[in-house]
Each structure stands twice: as C-alpha cells, then as structure tokens.
C-alpha cells in the first residue's frame, strides 16, 4: 500500500506542499466523527444490540434498588395507576355506565397509553441525560433512545401480566384473539421507538422540551379514549373531526388491544381501517424518527 502511495507521490507535489484536506485524501483519512449513511448507521446500531439490551436491563434493575419493596414496584405501580383512574372515572364521574366491562376497558387504556407516554418522556431525556456518556464513549447515539424505549417495553410486560389477570378476573374468556396482543405490541414498540428518537433530538437541543412534554402527552391522552368510549364523541362530531379522532395512533393501539383481550368488544367496535392505519403510522413514525435522529448524529456531544 505504501509502495503504491510513494510511487504516486513522486508524480505529485510533495506532502509538505499540499493543503490539509488534500493530504488527508491522499492517505485515506476520514473526517473524525463524520456521519455514516442511514443504512451503514443501521448496521452499526444492529452491532450494538447487546449494548442496547444490557443498558435497558441494567437501568430496569437499578430503578427500584433504593426502595424496600424493590422490583415489586414494577407490578404495584400499574395497579395503583389503574386504581386511581377507576376511583375518578369509574366511581366519582360515573363514566362506567354504558361501558361494558369498565375495569378491563380502563386498565387496557391506561397501560397501553402509558407505554407510549413513558417512552416519549424517557426519550426526551435520553440524549440530554446521558451527555457524559456521549462525550466519553463512541457508539451510535440512537442506542440511547432505543434503550429507553426497550426499558419501557420491559416495564409494560409486567403491566400486561397484571392486565391479563384483571381481564380474566372480570369474567372475560381467554380466546384465540389474545394472540393479536403480539402484533399490536410489536407495532406499538416500533412506533414508540421512532417517536422516542424524534423527541430525543428535540430534547437534546431544546432543554425546555422536558418541561413541556408532559402537558403535550396529557392532552394526547384525553383525546385517545383512555377513560371513556370516544364513540360518544365521534357520533355527534362533523365527519372530518370524527375521522381525525379515529385516525389517532394511540386510540388505534388502545382499541386494537381492547379488541384482542376483551371478547365483549365486537369487531364492529374498531374504527374503520384500524389495521392498515396502524401499519401506516408505525412505518411512517418509525422510519421518520430514525432519519430525523440520524440527521443530527454529529451534534449530540455539544449539549
């Protein structure tokens, strides 16, 4: 290699007389910290999959080490969440009249929306909160929002176990439809990962985002039929507003999960074109969030 370079150099200007950029090109040096193409970036990300998994698991295990009940909180937290909403919307406001099987209906909504909510909130801090790690070690930065989403998925699996017990205890039968839980969760995970990467880039630059995001998420939650059946609203709304409300991806994930777990939810209870819409949302947000995050890959160390 060096022999060929020397032979070539004899016909060109000596190294000492060319500019830095040309000298770098002559010896095949590359710009440090340059951004690879999206496909190469994806491969590098794949090669760090063990890091992503280990990072998420380590965080999950460290989360409750300070509390006496420890890992038990992973089961208690979703239960308490459901209990609070049941108290407010089921008993105080009486929303449950007219909604058949209110407890599983409510818990499914709370847990499924909670997955997206916590993935977004954790994603907002994924880059900003790990600046020291970013400035110390080399790895594709998308590892961080992906790990935070994986951590939320691991927590959701605890919630899902609790949810299945609740559903069965409330008298719903276990049917083959339960198998639909897997594709719904897979699609929601990809959707959440895309969303987490997008907000991670925003949160890395705009430190105010971490303060604003909870309000945005709460607004989204009330528009997603977590506590009440949204059909009461869409029936009287003008056509375009109803279509808009029914195309809400969070609502679609929640409705599909209710359909999967609760035998009392009929097929006709699903919004029109639920499955194609969910797949379109997942592809668009998953790929869009990835590309949006990748574009700023070089900038994350600056803070």
């Amino acid at each position: 290699m060096s022999g060929r370079q020397r032979a070539g150099a004899a016909t060109r200007a000596p190294d000492t007389e060319v500019g830095p950029a040309e000298l770098a090109a002559r010896y095949g040096l590359t710009v440090s910290g340059s951004r690879p193409g999206p496909a190469v970036y994806g491969r590098r990300l794949w090669s760090r999959r063990h890091f992503i998994a280990a990072f998420a698991t380590a965080r999950l295990n460290a989360m409750h080490t300070g509390a006496r009940l420890g890992g038990l909180w992973q089961v208690i937290t979703p239960l308490l969440n459901a209990a609070v909403y049941y108290l407010v919307f089921g008993l105080l406001l009486g929303t449950r009249h007219g909604t058949h099987g209110f407890v599983p209906f409510l818990c499914t909504g709370v847990f499924v929306f909670g997955f997206t909510q916590s993935a977004v909130l954790a994603g907002t801090r994924a880059v900003q909160g790990n600046l020291a790690l970013i400035r110390a070690l080399h790895f594709p930065r998308a590892c961080l929002p992906l790990a935070s989403t994986l951590l939320q998925l691991q927590q959701l699996l605890f919630s899902m176990a609790v949810l299945m017990v609740i559903v069965v205890a409330s008298g719903e039968p276990v049917t083959a439809r339960w198998l639909l839980v897997v594709p719904v969760l897979a699609a929601q995970s990809a959707f959440n990962a895309g969303l987490a990467m997008a907000v991670a880039r925003i949160g890395a630059r705009e430190t105010d985002a971490a303060q604003l995001m909870p309000f945005a998420m709460r607004t989204w939650m009330y528009a997603s039929g977590v506590f009440y059946d949204l059909r009461g609203l869409t029936e009287h709304a003008p056509g375009w507003a109803a279509a808009l409300l029914n195309a809400n991806p969070a609502l679609l994930f929640i409705d599909l999960m209710r359909y999967a777990l609760m035998d009392s939810v009929p097929r006709s209870g699903l919004p029109a074109h639920a499955w194609p819409l969910v797949l379109a949302w997942t592809a668009a947000v998953g790929a869009g969030g990835y590309l949006f995050f990748w574009q700023a890959e070089k900038e994350y160390g600056r803070g």
């Binding site: 060096s2 020397r6 150099a9 000596p14 190294d15 000492t16 500019g19 830095p20 950029a21 000298l23 770098a24 010896y27 095949g28 040096l29 590359t30 710009v31 440090s32 910290g33 340059s34 090669s47 760090r48 063990h50 890091f51 280990a54 990072f55 380590a58 460290a62 080490t65 020291a132 790690l133 970013i134 400035r135 110390a136 070690l137 080399h138 790895f139 590892c143 430190t207 070089k298 900038e299 160390g301 600056r302 803070g303």
Partner: protein
C-alpha cells in the same frame, strides 16, 4: 525522508464551541425570562465557551505527542474533538480509523455495580458478549478494586474517586486502538496501579499508530513523547521537540 511519513491525524483550523446551560440565573427568573423571549434575546443562562480557537497540526504514524498547557487551556476538549466526540464549530479533523480516548473522566453509570459497568462499557465500545465475558475478570483484576474486599459488586457511587478512576481506565484500556489518546490517566491511583497502567500504555503504544498524552507531569511527557504541543487559551503556543517545548513551558510557568 519527508515522503515516507504517513499522517494519521490532521487538524485543520479547528474551532470548538460548546454550550453550557444554567451557568447564571438572572434576577427575578420568571419576568426576566419572559422579557428575553419577547425581545428575542438568548438566555444568559446559556453561555457559549470557545474552548479551542483555530488549532492546526499533523500527527504521523509512530509518533508519541505530549499535550501540555495550564488548566483550562483546552487540552481535553481538543482530544475529544479529535476523537469525534465533540463536533467542531469550524474547521475539520481528519483521522485514520476511529481514535480512542482513554480518560479518567469517562463517565459511567454511578447507580450500577462495578461489574455491570465493566460489561456495559465493553459492549458500548463494540465488543461482542463473548469477548466481554472473557475479559471482564481481567479488567476487574487490572483495576485492583477488589484488593480490599468485594467492591465490584457494589454500586459505583460507593467508590472512592481513585477507585472509580482506576476502573474506568481499566475498561477503556481493555481494547486496542489505532490512534490512542490518554488524558491524565497515568496520574491516578496508587503506586502499584500506576506501574500496571504504565506497562499497559507501553503495550498499547506498541500496537497503536499514534499516541497523544495529556499530562501535567512534564516528567511523564519527557519519558514518553518525542514531540510536544503546548496549548494555551485554546491556541497552539508551540509545537516541536519535547525538550524545547517543555523547557519553554517551564519558563512560562515560573514567570507567572
């Protein structure tokens, strides 16, 4: 023999600016923040630090280059930029492969155990799980944190600063690199660890093309490096043979 020298790192008019949030709080936080928003002014709490101002140099294969300068002269920032960890504001750094930075400040996760940090650090550096399993024990042994009892199974926040620095150095040194940058790492730890780490650095140097060494100990620099760059307030003050540069720096330091 100028033609046979192969460059490994080229810095071309490098400027580095980073933002620091929360450096100053204005009077009467809420009204003043609102006023700034209305007048479209930047918050005084965000300050830009211009740490490196137009640095250019070329490093060649087989060189060991010392980096000296007063505290806050931009040495560590420069190394981070060469490693591609901080984006340049202006100018460029060209490197041969992916440079590695061995620093005592390499942050790990304080709420996790030492063992867990070893595994995560190795995975983040791109090792495969099998390689990690093979070298994890060696890393803990090398750091010597288990000499006074089983510390590797305790969270890192319980470590003394010396122990944490030793573990971090041990993790970073577990991999071999083409361009190697060492930031003050040789100064930490007790005599035994210093000897072990100097040996390890010598090994790494033999495998690496180019070594950069930041240190406040001119003795270490003279021992290891034939060329030295003196950085002061973000600009290169001198770049040449270690004896000359270190002599001039000593004179400068005495004069202050």
């Amino acid at each position: 023999m100028a033609e046979t020298r192969v460059p490994t790192v080229i810095a071309d008019g490098l400027h580095i600016v980073y933002r620091v949030h929360g450096s100053a709080a204005g009077r009467g936080p809420a009204p003043s923040a609102l006023g700034r928003l209305l007048r479209r002014r930047r918050s005084p709490a965000v300050r830009e630090v211009h740490a490196v101002k137009g640095v250019s140099f070329t490093a060649y294969r087989g060189e060991a280059i010392g980096l000296i300068g007063s505290n806050g002269s931009g040495k560590s920032t420069l190394l981070r930029a060469v490693a591609g960890l901080l984006p340049p504001h202006e100018g460029r750094v060209y490197t041969d492969g992916q440079p590695a930075l061995l620093g005592v400040n390499a942050a790990l996760m304080n709420d996790l155990t030492g063992e867990r940090n070893v595994v995560l650090g190795c995975l983040a550096m791109g090792m495969r799980p099998r390689e990690v399993r093979e070298c994890a024990d060696d890393i803990v042994d090398f750091s010597g944190i288990d000499e006074r009892g089983d510390f590797s199974s305790l969270p890192m926040r319980t470590y003394s600063s010396g122990m944490a620095a030793r573990l971090r150095f041990a993790i970073a040194a577990a991999k071999t690199h083409d361009v190697l940058m060492i930031d003050e790492a040789l100064a930490t730890g007790d005599a035994g660890f210093r000897r072990r780490s100097q040996e390890r650095v010598r090994e790494l140097r033999e495998q690496a093309g180019t070594v950069f060494l930041v240190s406040h100990s001119l003795g270490t620099i003279r021992e290891t490096c034939e060329r030295t760059i003196w950085l002061e307030a973000g600009v290169i003050r001198m770049d040449g043979p270690t004896d000359e540069v270190a002599g001039a720096y000593e004179e400068f330091a005495r004069g202050r």
